[in-house]
Symmetry: C2
Subunit: 343 residues, 2 copies
Amino acid sequence: MRVSLKDVAAHAGVSIKTVSNVVNNFQHVTPAMRERVQRSIDELGYRPNLTARHLRAGRTGIIALALPELGNPYFAELAAAVIDTAAEHDYTVLLDHTGGRREQELLVSQGFRARVIDGLILSPIELETEDLRDRAGEVPLVLLGERDYDLPYDHIAIDNVAAARAAVAHLVALGRREVAFIGARRGRNEPAQLRVRGWREELTAAGLPVDEGLVAATDGWGHADGAEAMTRILDAGRRPDAVFAYNDPMAIGAMRVLHTRGLRVPEDIAVVGFDDVVEGRFGAVTLTSVSPDKGAIGRLAVASVLARLGGAAPEPQRVRAPYRLVERESTLGRRAADRSPKG
Amino acid sequence: MRVSLKDVAAHAGVSIKTVSNVVNNFQHVTPAMRERVQRSIDELGYRPNLTARHLRAGRTGIIALALPELGNPYFAELAAAVIDTAAEHDYTVLLDHTGGRREQELLVSQGFRARVIDGLILSPIELETEDLRDRAGEVPLVLLGERDYDLPYDHIAIDNVAAARAAVAHLVALGRREVAFIGARRGRNEPAQLRVRGWREELTAAGLPVDEGLVAATDGWGHADGAEAMTRILDAGRRPDAVFAYNDPMAIGAMRVLHTRGLRVPEDIAVVGFDDVVEGRFGAVTLTSVSPDKGAIGRLAVASVLARLGGAAPEPQRVRAPYRLVERESTLGRRAADRSPKG
DNA sequence: CAACGGATGTATAACGTTGCAAAACCAGCG
DNA sequence: CGCTGGTTTTGCAACGTTATACATCCGTTG
């Protein structure tokens, strides 16, 4: 059985509270007493019971981070940033994995899965506005990612429309005229459309036709989905001279297909991805990508949760995280301006 | 303030225990009473306080999974398997991130970081045997991965020596004679050497010289480390005809360097990785890799922790998880036998 | 030397839940 | 109508911790 304050107190011949005082480094404990109690603590191997402490104090020191895919290195890198930042504030992160399924996201947002937490950072895919409306009595929530909700929660994301426009503008500046978009979400009324919108807006601004036949919807966001979408476009007889993918894995999947079809990147088709995952820097053709500042997003998310932890309720805000466009071999050619937003 | 059993009891005009009985679906509650209490529960929006429940029950329903790198998709995929299996048993997984640093691993193994857990699954990198010897009063521990300890804990891993031998044997069967090893761990007395040992044993068995100059040590296990190691080998004037890398990211990093140096894979140099991450299937040259059954490992790990949860202490065991060698373009050539172990 | 007051240690009551044992209730039966 | 035996409901204690209020100690001071 585990050692409790009571055991230590009995062993040291003092009251429970005195042991507690030593454990918590309270003032008004004589050095002699402190040492005596500490000796018992060490001897018995006492360790505080967090559950009990939480019951008393009303907090656990755990915040949950719910992500759609751990397999996507973007989320893995983001998670690492969140975990490290939280650790600096003596918080532990409980990572949850929704698979981007609405049911799972719902469970998480309502606290049914991760049940012993002080706050929640959620990156939703499928969740609708009304799903989040009624979470009375729940812990503070911070939202991440492309989905846009009209709800009183902090939301941390880069400006997806602007970032997508920067990517397309870069392709246009290279002289590309037919830019495909890979990775529109299939089967949603209001899918994660900000990047498609950016694509559309920038093409329009450049005076180029917006060809919806060059938008390929997919079910998922992995390599295979990108490959499948690229295959579909090519098999439809289309030969765009550039591809903008929803994320890097999809871009890499698309490049694989282009390679097997004998199309050269960037000579025949330029490719831009999104997220700047490390994998994109080590292919045979390195990948140009929109690079959100994952460290900043992680730090902002943790700060945001912590800010409303003590019952404090600051005004909800949309935070725009920094990003930049990193140019690599997949769009090599005439130099285009690097579009960086203000930090 | 949150609604407690007491509030519901007062509202419904019954005792606290009766409300508890309704909440827990106990028998011996009349339908009328059940409905009346349920009405109060709904009206007040009562939700059980898990912390209190845990304090009472002595368990939290959380198991921790501590991994060295979330950014490596191998671990991400493994984590997904663990999370899903745990969820089936009504357990939540708290993911921890050690970065492969001894200090962090020590904290985790001694329960200082994730302190509200019922059990721990740990994939250690730096931890030594003696570090794990004294964890009296700690929660059940299951070890994963290549490190081998002589300790009374369950250990779940594939047979790393045999798997490495299979990889090297495959290269030898292709007629390769100079097989480099990339990713021996730098700066450790007894590093994760099982794969190096397999490499050594198989070369010896094949009657080939074991050239330690073809073993490249690295600090980490990422793309960049693989690239750096490959560069080092080439810059030393060596021209092996095959490379066996500690894991897939390193193999891919190495292939990038080979590509930039104008060396063709597999014609000039064949490459085999380890872990079979999805990324390896979508490069310009797809990657042959040792493919551990991540789903099985995850399931075995969870089962192992759960088995010793109730205080039960089954005999500690080494569990060999299944794996196979998946051949792809990076070793295309003369066909070699597929070495699969018994499942 | 009695009274005072700051420093130090202690007893008790929570936090919200559930297991246990006992109490209250309700037929049915002699 | 009281007793029996079963069902339903209740009261209390306990899980391990900390906040609060109180008790004790001891050196100073008038």
